[in-house]
């Protein structure tokens, strides 16, 4: 697989692991006093565990798993709102597969489907659009979720629907943005991070400048990284080198995909279709100012929230986080998943209690599934 296999080369991995070890020693990182690097993106978390990277890097390097899984941070109330829409007569509710399992207060979309809702998994918002074209007598709703990577795809889909006059298509918009929760994390006085691995695919849309504040205002190094194991290790080495050299910059490890200023067509589509919400709720993090997008009034006809009068278009029900959930502390790097009193007991991937156990990108789920904890336990 071109552009994949090369970046999984074990020999080069050995080079990088050596480099990381050298740098870690150089900056005095030890098991007891580790250098803490947050990989912001759930895709990075997933790759770390899938390839076992956490066990390979120098023991002085500790990965802190960030909030960058759009499925994990979906609040219960939002899932309830999905089901509310899906229960309307005539609705075909379309969604990415990984959103099917997220629990709301009335169960997940999988369970709503079993109860009789017409809920269909799609690979792309384009497929939802096609379902709408083929079912003119049904209301087809796409569950739009994701960070800036995915936002353009629903923006393009809404533009196409508007062009075609596809009146039976709408998007339930849950798009969120990366920089705002990062700022919230950095403002948290409990936060102790030494650097960041930046989200490669978000950056291919928004470019690298939105992270400038991390280096400039908070003095932390960051390297935007790809998702193959070499990419990840490379970016860790880059962050460590910045620390070693006393720099705090935004570096781009993933230059083959990420342009400095992002993707103009995608940014234009986002700007055309979406505007910022005053605030948006994140599971485990609560409401974060200006962290979510909504559909502009010009496209209100394609806004499921408006069309069905749910969510932010109405009086929203407050759904408290489940009791005893330590997601916030894990997501801000204060504790490891295994330190959560619910981990593996009340909270498992089969019956997730908190956000981070929901998707295989969630830190707790990745820990569990790939054995972060259990490998060590024996």
């Amino acid at each position: 697989m071109k552009h994949v296999t090369e970046f999984r080369d074990p020999a080069l991995a050995r080079n990088l692991l050596g480099e990381i070890a050298r740098l870690a020693d150089q900056i005095g990182a030890t098991r007891d006093k580790p250098t803490r690097i947050m990989e912001i993106c759930g895709g990075h978390t997933h790759a770390i565990f899938r390839f076992g990277l956490d066990k390979l890097v120098h023991e002085g390097i500790e990965f802190i798993h960030g909030p960058g899984c759009p499925v994990c941070v979906l609040p219960m109330a939002r899932v309830d709102e999905c089901i509310e829409i899906a229960e309307r007569p005539g609705v075909i509710f379309t969604t990415f597969g990984d959103a099917m399992r997220v629990p709301g207060t009335r169960g997940s979309l999988i369970q709503a489907k079993a109860r009789g809702c017409d809920i269909r998994m799609v690979y792309s918002p384009l497929d939802a659009l096609e379902i709408a074209r083929r079912n003119p007598d049904r209301e087809v709703v796409f569950f739009g979720l994701g960070f800036e990577t995915t936002t353009p795809s629903t923006a393009f889909a809404i533009q196409a629907a508007a062009r075609e006059g596809l009146g039976n298509f709408s998007v339930f918009c849950n798009h969120i943005t990366v920089p705002e929760p990062l700022r919230a994390l950095l403002n948290d006085p409990h936060m102790q991070l030494d650097g960041f691995v930046g989200p490669g695919h978000v950056s291919m849309v928004i470019g690298t400048h939105p992270y400038d504040f991390i280096a400039e205002e908070f003095g932390k190094p960051i390297a935007v990284a790809g998702f193959e194991p070499l990419d990840l290790l490379h970016s860790v080495a880059m962050v460590l080198r910045q620390i070693a050299e006393g720099r705090a910059e935004v570096e781009n490890q993933y230059a083959r995909v990420v342009p400095e200023h992002g993707n103009p067509a995608s940014l234009a589509a986002i700007a055309d279709v979406y505007e910022r919400r005053p605030s948006f709720e994140w599971r485990g993090l609560g409401e974060i100012d200006a962290s979510g997008l909504r559909i502009r009034p010009a496209y209100a006809a394609f806004d499921a929230e408006e069309k069905f009068g749910v969510g932010y278009a109405t009086e929203r029900r407050h759904v408290p986080e489940p009791e005893g959930c330590a997601c916030g502390a894990v997501m801000t790097g204060r504790i490891k998943p295994t330190a959560c009193p619910q981990y593996g007991l009340g909270c498992t991937p089969e019956t997730p209690l908190g956000a981070l156990m929901v998707s295989s990108e969630g830190a707790c789920a990745a820990y569990w599934q790939y054995g972060g904890a259990r490998l060590a336990a024996q």
């Binding site: 090369e6 480099e19 020693d25 993707n263």
Partner: protein, 96 residues
Amino acid sequence: MCLGIPGQITAITDADRLTGMADVSGVRREVSLAPVADGPLDDLIGQWALIHVGFAMAIIDEKEAARTLDALRDLGEAQEALDAMAEGQKALEGSQ
């Protein structure tokens, strides 16, 4: 977040709708070229793009890819790496 995979654009399927065929290891899927259609569409044929949820989100810059790999090759293989590998081996056998 945001699963993405390199695929090669092999054909333009609908110039009006800006769609083309992407090939990922022999598996093909029609994708939207909207994010990368900033020049003549036919120029995209043969290029590699980063595919996400049915969209070609970015053209992969072959030179940058080569440059990154070159940088990695230049790094020497150090003793610490071998130690790390040994750690991994121990974890594997559950002795850690």
